[in-house]
């Protein structure tokens, strides 16, 4: 049996949990889904539409706001009771927060950033990205493992729904609120974003390959000529070369424009999850093995400082 730990916030299901249920279904094992929270009856009912053996509402008042200690205490108890072969999760920021401690508590391995699984002689082989997505590794664990799936690795439309809703069972967990060391405050967004890249039809995005602050002007010019917004990968915003609201990726905005033109972006997975939904992706990079080419429709291997000016010229000629 595979136990999927679903994620919800204030009664709203995180859609990536459905991808992870689909991943669990694809193993061919029985699947149970556990969803922790203070009152998760509505989310549990929604999850029960999927073809799974059972949905567990893991409820405790102390699980109202997410805390690492609260989640580890609750989920350790559930896993110990249910004794799954493996536990599947989405590789969200929340999973990244609590899963390491949960793995230690349970004495299990934690295999992160997975893209696929398969069975080999009764053993689960987990495929995970390494070296910034340049390589994949087939990984095995000596016993039951926590396995977290990269966002978007499993297609949501591959989720199989049941002919009738799955049974929902409420599991009350005893959590001593006083033992929770993290005291969370309410989530917030920074001052209103000046740019809404999610609405942009075209985006010209720059990455480390742009090398110098002054060179961003060239990208800005190209963006102006083709009617695009300027975007960036995280390192550019970290360096303060462009404001944070220009950032595309897991910690920035998720975009789906008609055209995404990536200049000097290698394509770390944190960036790819934010833009791979674009209709046409162009990558210009000096490294022919950069992972950005994995998702590109058109690619040019070369020096962007030569190619971009030549593009500007070609655009003005016609």
């Amino acid at each position: 049996m595979i136990l999927v730990i679903a994620e919800q916030q204030g009664g709203t299901l995180n859609r990536t949990s459905l991808e992870t249920i689909a991943a669990a279904q694809q193993t061919g094992s029985d699947v149970k889904v556990a969803v922790p929270g203070a009152d998760v009856s509505a989310v549990a009912a929604a999850l029960a539409a999927a073809q799974v053996a059972e949905v567990l509402s893991v409820q405790a008042a102390a699980l109202d706001a997410y805390t690492l200690d609260g989640y580890v205490a609750a989920l350790a108890e559930v896993v110990q009771r249910e004794r799954p072969d493996h536990v599947f999760l989405s590789h969200t920021y929340r999973t990244r927060d609590f899963a390491p401690a949960l793995a230690v508590r349970l004495g299990m391995a934690l295999v992160t950033d997975c893209v696929a699984t398969r069975w080999l002689d009764g053993q689960l082989i987990v495929v995970r990205a390494m070296f910034q997505g340049r390589l994949y590794a087939d990984v095995t664990t000596s016993g039951p493992a926590l396995v977290s799936f990269q966002i978007g690795a499993v297609r949501l439309d591959s989720l199989v729904n049941g002919s009738a809703p799955a049974p929902v069972r409420t599991v009350a967990v005893a959590i001593d609120a006083g033992s929770i060391r993290q005291k969370p405050e309410a989530p917030f967004r920074e001052a209103k974003q000046a740019v809404d890249l999610t609405q942009a039809e075209r985006i010209v995005a720059v990455g480390r390959g742009i090398k110098e602050l002054d060179k961003i002007d060239m990208a800005r010019q190209l963006a102006a000529v083709i009617g695009a917004e300027l975007g960036a990968s995280r390192p550019i915003c970290d360096a303060g070369w462009l404001p944070m609201d220009r950032q595309v990726g897991s910690s920035g905005q998720t975009v789906a424009p008609k055209l995404y033109l990536a200049l000097g972006i290698s394509g770390a997975i944190q960036h790819l999850v934010g833009m791979k939904g674009a209709r046409t992706i162009v990558a210009i990079n000096k490294d022919s093995e950069a992972p950005i080419f994995e998702v590109a429709d058109y690619g040019i291997v070369g020096d962007l400082f030569e190619i971009v000016p030549a593009m500007l010229k070609a655009l003005q000629e016609a």
């Binding site: 934690l110 390589l135 040019i300």
Partner: protein
């Protein structure tokens, strides 16, 4: 305040990983190595906290002999001393093996605050900090963008997804995993480099029976799932052809 910063030495970003003959690791004999980037931000944060609150910064790393170079760089940037848990096998170890090795050498030190990067550029486990905290029996918080030390506690700004943040307060001692971009990195000065030569690197031996919980059975270049039209020729020809394709084929520009 006694601050530990755990750093990992990883192959340089522009190094192209090649799989070795038995397809279980990379051919890193010819690689150049550097300090994992998020760990460099963690070190910078540690140095800033020391400047504000006093105390010392101890930089810790678990890995083969070459790791001493990364520790020296951290000392040159201002760390006071270093701990090196030396073992060749740790270069390929998983987060549990590395965290256990670090924990064994760090326990006696009784650090108030332990900082490390949120993940490494090589194996990318994104769990060493969290595993280490649990092994040390102290609280943790991850993906941190701001650290405010208060009496007996630390208030941190956690990054959530999609531009959301959250402040969380946790008691000291604690482990924090630091997100890239939390601060602006400083570079080592010549004076710092000279001073680093006289700073102590304590060598420690990892505990016996150190074991990874996950094992790589095969390492390979991912198969392409999307057909990419590669456009060749000189920069001018390629640029022209790309513009033509975007206009006439993809029809995404006018």
């Amino acid at each position: 305040m006694k601050i530990a910063v755990c750093i990992k030495q990883v192959p340089a970003r522009d190094w192209q990983p090649r799989v070795n003959d038995d397809r279980t690791w990379v051919r890193d004999q010819d690689a150049s190595f550097e300090v994992n980037e998020p760990d460099a931000y963690a070190l910078e944060e540690g140095l800033r906290l020391k400047e504000k609150h006093g105390g010392e910064v101890v930089v810790c790393s678990a890995g083969p002999a070459r790791v001493a170079q990364a520790l020296r760089e951290a000392l040159a940037r201002g760390a006071d001393r270093a701990i090196h848990v030396e073992d060749d096998g740790l270069a390929r170890g998983d987060a549990f093996a590395v965290a256990e090795a670090l924990a064994s050498a760090m326990r006696v030190e009784q650090f108030d605050l332990v900082l490390t990067g949120l993940q490494s550029d090589d194996q990318g486990f994104a769990q060493t900090g969290g595993v280490l905290a649990e092994m040390l029996g102290i609280a943790s918080a991850t993906i941190i963008m701001e650290v405010d030390v208060q009496p007996g506690a630390v208030r941190v700004k956690r990054e959530l997804e999609g531009g959301w943040f959250q402040f969380v307060t946790l008691p000291l001692p604690a482990v924090l995993t630091i997100q890239s971009g939390i601060n602006q990195l400083r570079y080592a000065t010549l004076k710092g480099i000279m001073a680093a030569k006289r700073k102590e690197i304590r060598k420690a031996v990892p505990p016996a029976g150190l074991a990874s919980r996950q094992r790589i059975v095969s390492l390979y270049v991912p198969e392409k799932t999307k057909r990419t039209e590669m456009i060749g020729g000189s920069p001018v020809e390629a640029a022209k052809e790309l513009v033509r394709r975007l206009r006439d084929e993809a029809r995404v520009i006018s």
